[in-house]
């Protein structure tokens, strides 16, 4: 029973982090109509930023959150301004491949600059901390990551639903033309969406770097599930992404425990296919 509780807790902790990452991805799609296939690589870039802040200046990852967030946010905006913006006028193929190109570019860049060696942050503030609640152990870094992710996600939610700019963003997401007629500049909104998507990923990156290895391919582990999550929750739906993220986190841990571990990732893909085929607009989506 304890073990089951452990998997639930681990699943929720993972879900929270995946949620933040997925929210960034779904926001970009909702507003800009582009799936950022390089989202995992954004995470990777954020992780490198946080790692080097620690390595070069001894900054604990928790304190480099703003730096990583800003760094990836800027990366997002630059990506939009340089290439994505133009691909938007093109075909589906262009839109898919512009971010695929970005994926390859970022991975190559990381590999060229930092080699493919695994790096890791040691001795982070919460590194040795571990809570024990009724037989369930909750490692400090993972808990901080989950809590931090929830805070960041709430912040995004507050911004999007309570501020004027956020509402403009949501308006563009619902109906680009109508929003434009109300005087909302779509290009600014697109850039903003990429910025926020980047920030969300940067925050998540700094949160997980204290317990995840950093290397050019570190984007996949969280990135691939993020696409499934976003599609499951419905492209563009923030609430859907969050709900799906917890679902996926739980499934990964529960399946991982009760079924042969090799197959644990399999179930996410299978679940994704089942849901998306039965309900093509996702659990909560509208397209």
């Amino acid at each position: 029973m304890e073990v089951f509780a452990q998997t639930i807790v681990s699943g929720l902790l993972l879900g929270a982090v995946l949620g933040l990452i997925a929210v960034g991805l779904t926001l970009i799609f909702g507003v800009v109509d582009i799936v950022n296939f390089a989202h995992g690589e954004f995470l990777m870039v954020g992780m490198y930023i946080a790692f080097f802040a620690w390595r070069l200046w001894g900054v604990d990852p928790l304190f480099s959150i703003p730096l990583a967030a800003l760094g990836v946010g800027i990366l997002g905006v630059i990506s939009y301004l340089t290439f994505v913006r133009h691909a938007m006028r093109g075909t589906l193929l262009s839109q898919i491949f512009v971010t695929f190109g970005l994926l390859i570019f970022l991975r190559g860049l990381a590999q060229a600059l930092f080699s493919s060696n695994f790096r890791g942050v040691q001795g982070s503030i919460l590194g040795d901390v571990s809570l024990s609640v009724g037989g369930v152990s909750v490692p400090g870094p993972q808990l901080a990551a989950a809590v931090g992710s929830l805070i960041a996600t709430s912040a995004i939610g507050w911004f999007v639903w309570r501020t004027r700019m956020g509402k403009a963003l949501m308006a563009t997401s619902q109906d680009r033309e109508a929003a434009a007629m109300l005087g909302i500049n779509p290009h600014r909104m697109f850039a903003l969406a990429w910025f926020i998507g980047g920030i969300a990923t940067g925050v998540a990156a700094a949160l997980i770097v204290s317990y995840q290895p950093v290397h050019p391919n570190s984007g996949i582990a969280y990135g691939l599930p993020a696409f499934m999550i976003v599609a499951l929750g419905g492209f563009g739906s923030i609430g859907g992404a969050l709900a799906a993220a917890f679902l996926v986190g739980l499934i990964e841990n529960i399946a991982g425990f009760y079924l042969p571990t090799e197959y644990k990732e399999l179930w996410i893909f299978v679940l994704f296919l089942i849901v998306v085929i039965a309900r093509p607009q996702g659990l909560l989506g509208r397209r």
Partner: protein, 343 residues
């Protein structure tokens, strides 16, 4: 014409009664010359190796492109069929001594069957959902094979070395003449098949589906059926490439034949060369692999990374500015488009 031989020029009317205009023959001639002489001009063993891989990648990209570029369904999970072909040949040979050529055909048949099972549910999805679903399918296949003892799981399977024989599709020797010309031959067959399809009713129908699925249905096109036709063709083609690859390297494991990276590589080759043209995948494969190899040769490990940086950049540039790839770029320079031509 419906996106077929746009390299040859911009006239789109085909004269009645004569399916092959003189202008359209030059790409074929160029292909024969270049691919015919490639192993002669680049005769070092490692160059032969690249040449074989170029043919195989071009073969896969050509197959993929019938579904991707011409029908507009962007699959990112085609490694599935590559793996099916590779494993069928290998398992067939090991378990029942199946001749590799028969194994290749069987692999193609199984790939088509699998494509029908996968196609049925997945084609209900559109756009991004479809593409992401294909990623999921590919990953599922990878994970299944990774853990399936019957096919050697993570350790993979090796094909025992036999004496040189065309029948057994094995040739020793540092130079890969035989493998190369066989691979080039398969590529040529695939290109001919593609050309025939594009010029037939099927070709028009696939283009219509790509342009506007609903409008296509409104003029009597059974959309699901034709999507499946394109998928089946691409599955069979890629599976054949996979089978050949297995015979070429004499070893298969999930990482070498089922990884997402392979699916992506195929599509990038097509996108790079230009998806609107039949020759795009061929050119893209040649450029892609040549660049990769050159980088590796002259810059070693960093070369690999820089290569990724370069082709990532190239893909972004193409997606953003010249969706018709290298061929589109070439067309821009060659002549301005004549869009109001007389009949």
């Amino acid at each position: 014409m419906a996106g077929a031989s746009e390299v040859a020029g911009d006239e789109r009317t085909v004269e009645r009664g004569r399916p092959w205009r003189r202008q359209e023959l030059w790409p074929w001639a160029a292909f024969m010359v270049v691919f015919g002489l490639m192993p002669v001009l680049y005769s070092a063993p490692y160059q032969h190796n690249i040449a074989v891989l170029i043919c195989l990648t071009a073969l896969m990209a050509t197959g993929w492109n019938l579904l991707g570029g011409f029908t507009g369904q962007i699959s990112l999970g085609h490694a599935l069929f590559f793996g099916v072909g590779a494993y069928t040949v290998t398992v067939g040979e090991l378990r029942i001594g199946l001749n590799p050529w028969l194994g290749m055909l069987l692999g193609a048949a199984i790939a088509v069957a699998v494509s029908m099972i996968v196609g049925l549910p997945v084609f209900r999805l559109r756009g991004h959902y479809f593409s992401i679903a294909t990623i999921a399918v590919g990953e599922i296949a990878f994970l299944i094979f990774l853990n399936w003892q019957f096919v050697g799981a993570a350790g993979g399977l090796s094909i025992p070395i036999k004496e040189d024989s065309l029948l057994e599709l094995q040739f020793s020797g540092q130079h890969k003449w035989e493998y190369y010309y066989l691979a080039a031959g398969l590529l040529l067959l695939a290109l001919v098949a593609t050309q025939l399809i594009l010029k037939s009713r099927t070709g028009y129908y696939l283009a219509a589906i790509r342009e506007d699925q609903e409008a296509a249905a409104s003029v009597g096109i059974p959309v699901a059926r034709y999507k499946q036709i394109a998928l089946s063709f691409s599955a069979a083609t890629v599976a054949i490439a996979g089978a050949f690859f297995a015979q070429y390297v004499l070893f298969v494991d999930p990482v070498s034949v089922l990884e997402l990276a392979i699916s992506i590589q195929i599509t990038i080759a097509a996108v790079l060369g230009g998806v609107k043209s039949m020759w795009g995948p061929v050119i893209g494969a040649a450029v892609l692999l040549s660049l990769t190899e050159t980088a590796r040769l002259y810059l070693g490990g960093t070369g690999e990374a820089l290569n990724l940086v370069a082709y990532g950049l190239l893909v972004m540039l193409i997606a953003a500015f010249e969706p018709n790839g290298l061929i589109g770029l070439a067309q821009r320079f060659r002549r301005p488009r004549n869009t109001r031509g007389q009949r």
